[in-house]
């Protein structure tokens, strides 16, 4: 499979990366080179093989069912969470207007 400029523009839009015409033109052969190279995976017989879900067998744990079981990842961190925001106002993240 290969991609053309329109497809790359569509992917870039899905990935929320603005790309001008020149950047799209440049990306097309690069992506196609990589995609053609990974095509070889199609040669592999994967009959009966389950796709890998976890690389090392491990069980998912449940944390203690209490508020703030771990103070580092619990609540009450509003100011820390907002400290690096490009725009924070009144204890919220600021974004451009989204409703007309």
């Amino acid at each position: 499979m290969s991609v053309d400029k329109a497809t790359v523009a569509k992917i870039a839009s899905l990935a929320r990366i603005r790309m001008d015409d020149e950047a799209l033109e440049r990306m097309v052969p690069e992506l196609n080179g990589i995609l053609q190279w990974v095509e070889q995976l199609g040669e592999v017989d994967v009959t009966g093989i389950e796709p890998m879900a976890a690389v090392i067998p491990n069980t998912l744990r449940l944390r203690d069912d209490v508020v703030d079981a771990d103070p580092l990842t619990g609540g009450g961190k509003r100011d820390d969470v907002l400290a690096n925001a490009p725009a924070a106002e009144h204890g919220f993240f600021g974004v451009p207007k989204v409703i007309e």
Binding site: M52, L60, N84, P96
Partner: protein, 493 residues
């Protein structure tokens, strides 16, 4: 008095413990070495005060007769992928420039708790995506090594290129690295130092900027196997804040180091004999076999039939995970925001990400977005995850016949910066020997073996069974003792 910057982790720790010198003297020595090595561009920010404060704490603890930690008095470099409280953390990307975490990553916290201090945040490939340290927003890192008869700036490898450059240049006795598809082992091999990626889950990923979560693992980079064993012991351990953290005890790897390999079988994977591999690398591999045999091991042939497919599978799985992980950089919560006049939220996202991410990061996000998109998911992503399962099965079968696998770390020695940028694929191929162990989550290490005709270091790789870091370290030690690798770069910076 010895130049303290010539010492490694173990020598510093022991010397501080027995009072041969103070932790402060060590920190001052390395701070000065770091300040004098700006030409390497190994650090994005330096933190001499952090190193001094940690050293003073250690000296005070010793004076008070307290038991010192396993890394007490050792100042280290911290790859700028680990969140450090109050110190800018960028992943070498413009999109995180100025980001100052209000928390500390688990691994860095454990190192500080063990008595280490921080010399600074080390440069790397942007978001750890690269194999030459040429994708950093903060400029290329230069290796301290030079090719014989040439003044060209050489690559320190990547993505942990700041780490490898700093340790090889003796401006840090050790550094943290992270390995997603070879990012500890390949730079270690390029610069003549040691580096180990432990079993997936040994080191907590909490507070490490995520690239590909099912592959990312932290590990130490230092100049000896012993130093790696000590530092890995300080970094590893169960962390409830990481859902994939291994809930098992951390062995005392340093205490159990033993280079007597009698009764051990070393597997030589025949599929690693690939076209395009330097003859000098193949020769060093032969030499490595002889060394391990000399240490008492039996050499056996093993087969890893899906080796050839590991790299293409990686270049689907890793970008897929990256495209998802990097969706968080949206110009809203932290980092860069590019808000052109009069645009809405969606355009702000797109403008921010266009301005903030470098070309290689964009390329991988686009590949990842494509292989996960409707209609292509099964053909690419599911197929790659099946191939990944086969790569892991190959290793499991090989480890029925051997205890540890010996292979080259890289197909070539270091190359000049700027010489491999024509086609992204050429660069990807440098990780051909490193990626399979990453896909299978196995512990793997690179140790320096020899110097090639150009005067550049070559590394050998050891891969072990899950949780058998000890077996990897022991075989590494056997090589270290026999290789007698003492070469070091001549100071030009």
């Amino acid at each position: 008095m010895t130049d303290l910057t010539s010492l490694g982790v173990k020598e510093i720790r022991d010397g501080v413990r027995d009072g041969s010198f103070t932790a402060r003297e060590v920190a001052e020595g390395f701070n000065a070495a770091v300040a004098g090595a700006a030409a390497l561009n190994a650090f994005i920010v330096t933190t001499p005060d952090h190193a001094l404060a940690a050293a003073d704490k250690v000296d005070a603890a010793r004076a008070a007769g307290e038991t010192l930690g396993t890394m007490a008095g050792v100042p280290i470099g911290m790859k700028d992928l680990f969140a450090t409280n109050g110190v800018q953390t960028t992943a070498a990307s413009h999109i995180l420039e100025g980001f100052t975490p209000r928390y500390e990553s688990t691994v860095s916290q454990k190192l500080w708790d063990a008595g280490a201090g921080m010399l600074g945040k080390l440069n790397l490939d942007q978001f750890a995506m690269g194999s030459s340290n040429e994708t950093s927003y903060f400029g290329n890192v230069t290796s301290p090594w030079k090719k014989a008869g040439s003044n060209a700036a050489m690559s320190p490898g990547g993505s942990s290129g700041g780490s490898s450059s700093a340790v090889a240049a003796r401006i840090a006795p050790a550094a943290t690295g992270t390995d997603t598809g070879g990012s500890i082992r390949q730079p270690a091999a390029f610069t003549g130092i040691c580096g180990i990626k432990p079993t997936y889950g040994r080191c907590s990923r909490w507070g490490i900027v995520a690239f590909a979560s099912s592959l990312d693992q932290a590990g130490p980079m230092a100049r000896s196997v012993e130093d790696c064993a000590i530092m890995l012991g300080a970094m590893a351990g169960f962390d409830p804040k990481d859902a994939t953290s291994l809930q098992m005890d951390v062995p005392d790897w340093e205490a159990a180091l033993n280079s007597d390999l009698r009764g051990k079988k070393v597997g030589i994977p025949r599929e690693y004999r690939m076209e395009g591999t330097d003859q000098a690398i193949l020769d060093s591999w032969e030499q490595g076999k002889a060394w391990l045999k000399d240490a008492g091991a039996e050499i056996v042939d093993v087969s890893l039939p899906h080796t050839k497919y590991a790299l293409p599978a990686y270049y689907i799985v890793a970008p897929a995970e990256a495209s998802s992980n990097l969706a968080r950089y949206d110009g809203v919560r932290y980092g860069l925001r590019d808000l052109p006049e009069g645009v809405g939220l969606q355009d702000m996202y797109a403008a921010t990400r266009a301005a903030g991410f470098g070309d290689e990061v964009k390329r991988r996000i686009l590949i990842g977005t494509y292989v996960l998109s409707a209609g292509f998911y099964d053909a690419y992503y599911t197929q790659a995850q099946k191939v990944r399962a086969l790569v892991a099965r190959d290793f499991a079968r090989a480890f029925e016949e051997c205890d540890v696998i010996l292979a080259p770390t890289t197909p070539t020695a270091s190359f000049p910066l700027g010489s491999m940028n024509e086609d992204p694929l050429t660069m990807y191929l440098n990780d051909v020997f490193a990626v399979p162990a990453s896909l299978a989550g196995l512990p793997a290490m690179s140790v320096p073996a020899t110097i090639n005709a150009d005067g550049l270091p070559l590394g050998l790789q050891l891969v072990g069974r899950p949780f058998d870091e000890q077996g990897v370290l022991n075989a590494g030690l056997a090589i270290q003792e026999r290789a007698g690798f003492t070469a070091k770069p001549e100071k030009w910076w």
